[in-house]
Symmetry: C2
Subunit: 342 residues, 2 copies
DNA sequence: CGTTCTCTTGGTATCGCTACCACCGTATAA
DNA sequence: TTATACGGTGGTAGCGATACCAAGAGAACG
């Protein structure tokens, strides 16, 4: 089974009928003994098991899937694999799936909707039995494909207005609003907002909306020059903070809505000797381990990424095991973690 | 294609013969037009393409794989998905595979050899066309399975004495030795060593050996009480450093051979007001972004994780595309990155 | 004792696609 | 012209498993 191999290359594969012959039973009995042992008599099962062990037989799941029109592979598309936020979700998904005998096929879209489309097509061509998409805005063709094939789909990363199927997420809008309001309650009045790129990213956009909504509720002016776009990473966070403080010397807090931006800013403050939160307060999004251990510890939003993964996989597995298709929408919520930096 | 669905549930799937009929050609022509367009005349290709688009046809790769005895899915087993080191390797693998039309099935073994065995079996049952294992010590059954099925395998994470097939890695022994020697050259004389768990982990073991080898070369005493095992994570690194300093007040450097241990230790120093490197120097393993931005910046070993992933995937793809099977052993090396912390 | 039911087992026809071979027409060589 | 080659197309027989149905052996029942 290699990329170029012709038919019958090298040692012939051991197949079920071989096992059947050696065990002196029919291949149906072998098939049953392996998949539903309880439907086969003790004697048969023993004969089959013995032959299976003797030959080190590995059933061919490709053939099984084709025949049964059932697969045990779930497809997952994330914007980037190289990001610990997704990593903890992926880990949880992987664990739940594995416990139920499913496997995970992973791909990353790089935040590009056209790539998402190509990947959804490819995964559906592989006949995955379910999809998890960390994204809630899709191409038309993606929506069509999902509708036509009828595969169960979990969307996550945001709470969409028109879900494809099932959703497990938190509200980026509410989370950003809550943190901004929190900073306001703590007495900060000039709050900068640093966001990840907004293009093709509903999550970023929602966070920005939440920030402005909170400002309004706080009776603070909505100053667009307090909002900066950064591409994610330590340096970008540092740069953004420096730029904000240069243009707004009165800035008393920075809310970094993405990745490790906040930590980059914090390190920059250490480098420049700016007291945190004395000179400027720093708040982050997503409770990375790092934030709990930095000096000072960093106020942040705890998004239950692991739980999102776990519940997504559980919903999918239930559906695959026969639960009736119903639109489920789970809001896992979030939590503000107040620490030393604010 | 769902977990429980019976045959012929709902709308019948569109298949190649349907496309063939509507395009007025044979299904072989459709098959060829999709896989090797150059072997089909312009006219046929257009007819086929039109029908494919009209029906939104998605070829069934499961059937294709069964028939051709070829698959386009590569299996990957890492100790943990939730670890940015693996993440950057996975990202690279995923990118290279995708560019060549392959997909990635991921599983994590949690550092347990028995789980690795179960996963290798499962992936081979899915008839993956290649395997990447981040581990170089395996169960007997794993070695047997690999030998019997003949799938191309890449091992990584260490340079094994008896590789299964191809290897792309660096030497944990040499890396740890080089860093320890480096610290010695800088004048440090009492160098603590904090390692990840040694059990079932040849990488950790090799690193420890490298540490002792360097001490010997430096003419420093090999004191086992300078070696501490920690399970990985910020707090564990912090704890380890504190314990080392308590038992060895003269400790002048700590080499943290794993994960974020060094950063945890660094934060602890900040908390306690210990100057780094004045009171104690800190060196790490693996060039996390974090280390370049921390204050002070942290001396470390740059392991080209991304390159490891890329080259692993490239080797695999070449082999799958027909390269002759030869034992390849690539040592990607490492690099000492001297920074402020030592 | 015959009938009905349950529990096991086996035979067979697919699942959707591709490898292989046969074929046909046209182009090139002899 | 006849022979040979070659690009392009279609028919057919699997790939290795499972779903479905049929059938035999006992058990339970009247």
């Amino acid at each position: 089974m290699s990329g170029k191999a012709k038919r019958n290359d090298g040692g012939a594969e051991i197949k079920m009928s071989d096992i059947a012959r050696h065990a002196g039973v029919s291949s149906m009995t072998v098939s049953r003994a392996l998949r539903e042992p309880s439907t086969v008599s003790e004697k048969m099962r023993r004969k089959v098991d013995a032959a299976v062990r003797e030959f080190g037989y590995l059933p061919n799941r490709i053939a099984g899937s084709l025949s049964s029109k059932r697969s045990n592979v779930v497809g997952l598309i994330v914007p980037s694999i190289q990001n610990s936020l997704y990593a903890s979700m992926i880990q949880a998904i992987s664990d739940v799936l594995r416990a139920n005998g499913f496997h995970l096929m992973i791909a990353n879209s790089g935040h590009r909707l056209d790539d998402e489309e190509a990947l959804v097509s490819a995964l559906l061509a592989q006949r995955v039995c379910g999809l998890v998409l960390h994204n809630t805005t899709h191409n038309k063709r993606v929506r069509d494909l999902v509708a036509k094939t009828g595969v169960p789909v979990i969307e996550t990363g945001n709470l969409p207005a028109e879900p494809l199927d099932m959703v497990v997420s938190y509200s980026n809008f509410e989370a950003a609003r809550a943190m901004t309001a929190h900073l306001g309650r703590l007495g900060y009045r000039k709050i900068g907002f640093v966001t990840l790129p907004l293009r093709d990213n509903d999550r970023s956009e929602e966070r920005r909306r939440g920030y402005f909504a909170a400002l309004k509720e706080l009776g603070l002016p909505a100053d667009p020059s307090l909002v900066l776009e950064a591409s994610g990473g330590f340096s970008e966070g540092a740069d953004a903070l420096v730029r904000l403080i240069q243009t707004h010397p009165g800035l008393d807090a920075g809310f970094f809505a993405g990745d490790v931006l906040a930590v980059g800013a914090l390190f920059e403050c250490q480098r420049r000797g700016w007291a945190v939160p004395g000179r400027v307060a720093i708040a982050s999004f997503d409770d990375l381990d790092l934030l709990r251990h930095a000096v000072p510890t960093v106020t942040t939003l705890r998004i239950p990424r692991h739980e999102i993964g776990r519940r997504s996989a559980e919903l999918l597995v239930n559906r695959l095991l026969g639960a009736s298709p119903e639109r489920v929408r789970i809001d896992v919520g979030f939590e503000i973690v107040q620490r030393e930096s604010t």
